[in-house]
């Protein structure tokens, strides 16, 4: 097979050009850099969200938050997607900086921690403003790049992994066996969330962890692992903890095929719409909403406030420069109200309340 491929590669250039064309068409439709412009104010900085992709609900919602904030201040808004490619992420940002001449506020979820440094340096050099979220090197600090590197926001997986475990145990009546689905083994959020689960288990000796498996954030794998558990442990399974909502929903489907959906509580994390609906249907016991809508809008808002001189980043305390955001814990108790205010309607956020969700300085 391989040989055939190379044989055909030696064909005249014309075909290769067609191929390139085809690849380019593919690239366009897979990696769309969606640029939407609304409201033109010359003194206004361009607002930029740089995220992994639009193909996952999380970042899609992030983008909506960004759009909403941009609309509220009437600024140009640009979405850049990295598609998991660090080089693309960094070079797209450099391009937008060049295009705007530095009059730009960037809210970025760097594809990988090391990417944050070149991004921050490029912004600093051009005199723009940047807020990073989730990923950055531990020794890269906003206060070393005053005033351009406004803030870094992250969420600790530990307390929420633990909170979900506790919600699960509560739904189980405080005792029984559970199984747990982890994310990619080397992934930081996956590790933190698992650490939270472990803490909760240590505090609840009546709950027994029957088995832990990694399903790599994949619904298909989660379904298969849950199926195997149903064979192995049968009725011993009193609850299922999953490190994200996709895997939790797949576990619910495995239970459904077994006729047990709704009887075994399942928790996830991320707060996607289908998970909230599953909580409402009584098939999931809880999830945590990071509120990507807030992340996408507020990240820009913080940068925008700094850029427009509403506050001076250099004068802010360190817990406003590197802080943990606050997740929303959703269980059966508050699912309906969360659904009504955040999912059915576009959330109404006060974009000027920039420090409202600070829950402590990030610890390294």
């Amino acid at each position: 097979m391989v040989k055939r491929i190379f044989d055909s590669m030696n064909k005249p250039v014309r075909r290769r050009d067609i191929l390139k064309g085809a690849a380019a068409v593919g690239a366009v439709s897979v990696f769309p850099a969606i640029i939407s412009r609304r409201g033109f104010a010359a003194e206004n900085p361009t607002l930029v969200n740089s995220i992994r992709s639009l193909s996952n609900p999380y970042h899609a919602t992030w983008n909506k938050g960004g759009e909403a904030f941009a609309k509220s201040v009437g600024a140009d808004y640009v979405t850049l997607v990295t598609e998991g490619n660090s080089e693309k992420g960094v070079s797209d940002i450099r391009a937008i900086i060049a295009k705007t001449g530095g009059n730009v506020v960037i809210n970025v979820d760097p594809n990988d921690a090391p990417d944050a440094r070149p991004i921050v340096e490029a912004v600093k050099e051009a005199g723009g403003y940047v807020v990073t979220q989730w990923n950055k090197p531990a020794d890269l600090h906003p206060w070393d790049f005053d005033p351009n590197y406004v803030a870094h926001i992250s969420f600790s997986g530990v307390p929420y992994g633990k909170a979900m475990a506790e919600a699960l145990f509560k739904a189980m009546g405080g005792k029984g066996g559970i199984v747990a689905l982890g994310g990619i083994q080397s992934n930081i959020p996956a590790i933190e969330r698992k650490a939270g689960l472990d803490q909760a288990l240590a505090e609840n000796p009546d709950i027994k962890l029957l088995d832990f498996q990694v399903a790599n954030w994949s619904e298909t794998e989660a379904l298969e692992k849950t199926n195997a558990w149903l064979t192995q442990f049968g009725d011993e399974i009193g609850g299922i903890w999953a490190a994200n909502d996709g895997m939790a929903l797949a576990a619910v489907e495995a239970l459904r095929a077994d006729g047990r959906a709704g009887q075994v509580p399942v928790t996830g994390i991320d707060g996607i719409q289908l998970a909230v609906e599953a909580i409402l249907a009584g098939e999931m016991a809880g999830t945590v909403a990071w509120d990507p809508y807030w992340q996408g809008g507020m990240g820009l808002s913080i940068g925008y406030h700094a850029a427009t001189g509403k506050f001076d980043p250099a004068k802010e305390p360190k817990d406003h420069r590197e802080f943990y955001g606050t997740g929303v814990i959703i269980t059966a108790d508050n699912a309906q109200s969360y659904y009504d205010s955040n999912i059915k309607a576009e959330p109404e956020l006060d974009w000027n309340d920039i420090w409202g969700r600070v829950s402590g300085q990030i610890q390294y």
């Binding site: 055909s8 996952n56 298909t220 192995q232």
Partner: protein
């Protein structure tokens, strides 16, 4: 035209072995008859033996493996890889490769979820959505085949492109969210079971696909020509086989099977999203190769793929049942591929390995 003049003297010459002296190239393939027969049989039966051994080992460690409930769960886990594997087998038999599987599956699942009763729009086409989705699969496959043949682009590159395009279009259609499927009949494929054995209907659908594939492989010209192309494009042309048409038809057929896989995946997870195909390509190619269909083409078949799928599914089910640590599991799967390829390849046929 029967040769009526047929002297009896032919009968006296026994079975002969090819001589080696005249042509260097032949020396690589001149295997005494007995050895060749034995090799071939071993290659063909090895997957079955592996499957039986695997089941025996897992059952010995965890007797729950043999429970009826697990039997059904394995069937359920195998239905999607089987349907995908059927399509991929035809392509691999031709000596080509089809990477568009995840793209077609994702696109099909997303389109299905948007056409039947769902949580995002007002559509409610019911079962009518299924032929539409199958047509979409066939269309992508047809495009794959046509570009591959007419523009002479390697199948590897074309299908890599359509993989991304498929996922990209799915993305564009639903903007990154997931659409819940509320159609009872579609969900029934994964949830409702037949009253006799107790398999989900999706398993029966997959088995029906298998039978259709078996008939296509063994009883149609298309199936025969696919083998012939895999045996050598030159030879196929020599026998007057319309190679281009056969290739396009094979890719189209594969697209239909992937679309069925998309329907089953959407039914199983109860939703359509653009990540639904993730990781399917690896599992499918593994199953096809483990089953004994050679990546070099011409050798194997959908019956082998059925065994390969069962090996892969039983192994991943069994690794959980046996309590193998997650970090080891992926390594075991990789090892399995290497062993399977090593077992199934007739090295005497190969002069150069690339």
């Amino acid at each position: 035209m029967p040769p009526s003049v047929m002297p009896t003297s032919i009968a006296r010459t026994g079975t002969r072995v090819m001589t080696l002296h005249a042509n260097a190239a032949k020396s690589a393939v001149a295997v005494p008859k007995k050895t060749a027969t034995r090799r071939w049989r071993l290659a063909s039966w090895a997957p079955v033996i592996v499957l039986v051994l695997l089941c025996a080992v897992i059952a010995a460690i965890n007797p729950n493996f043999l429970s009826f409930g697990n039997f059904v769960r394995i069937a359920q886990a195998a239905m999607i890889p089987l349907v995908l594997g059927l399509g991929a087998t035809f392509i691999i038999l031709m000596g080509s490769i089809d990477l568009s599987l995840e793209g077609v599956l994702t696109l099909s699942a997303v389109i299905l979820s948007m056409l039947v009763l769902n949580g995002a729009n007002a559509n409610d086409l019911g079962l009518l959505a299924i032929p539409i989705v199958l047509l979409v699969g066939a269309g992508v496959g047809f495009v794959n085949g046509t570009i591959h043949v007419r523009l002479k682009v390697p199948s590897f590159m074309v299908t890599l492109g359509t993989w991304f395009i498929g996922v990209g279009v799915a993305n564009a259609l639903i903007g990154g969210t997931a659409i819940r499927i509320n159609d009872k009949l579609v969900r029934a494929l994964a949830i409702a079971r037949d009253p006799v054995i107790g398999f989900p209907w999706g398993v029966w659908l997959a088995l029906l696909c298998f039978l259709i594939a078996l008939v296509i492989q063994n009883y149609t010209r298309l199936g025969r020509y696919i083998y012939a192309l895999g045996g050598g494009e030159d030879l196929a042309a020599l026998s007057g086989i319309p190679a281009a048409r056969v290739r396009i038809m094979a890719f189209t057929l594969a697209g239909v099977f992937y679309a069925v896989g998309g329907i089953l995946a959407a039914a199983q997870l109860g939703l359509g999203n653009s990540q639904i195909g993730l990781g399917r390509l690896f599992t499918t190619i593994t199953a096809v190769v483990v089953g004994g269909t050679a990546l070099s083409g011409g050798q194997g078949g959908v019956h082998q793929t059925l065994i390969g799928v069962l090996i892969v599914v039983v192994l991943s089910n069994g690794m959980v049942l046996m309590g193998i640590p997650p970090s080891v599991q992926i390594g075991v799967q990789g090892l399995m591929i290497i062993v399977a390829v090593a077992l199934s390849m007739d090295r005497k046929m190969m002069r150069i390995v690339k």
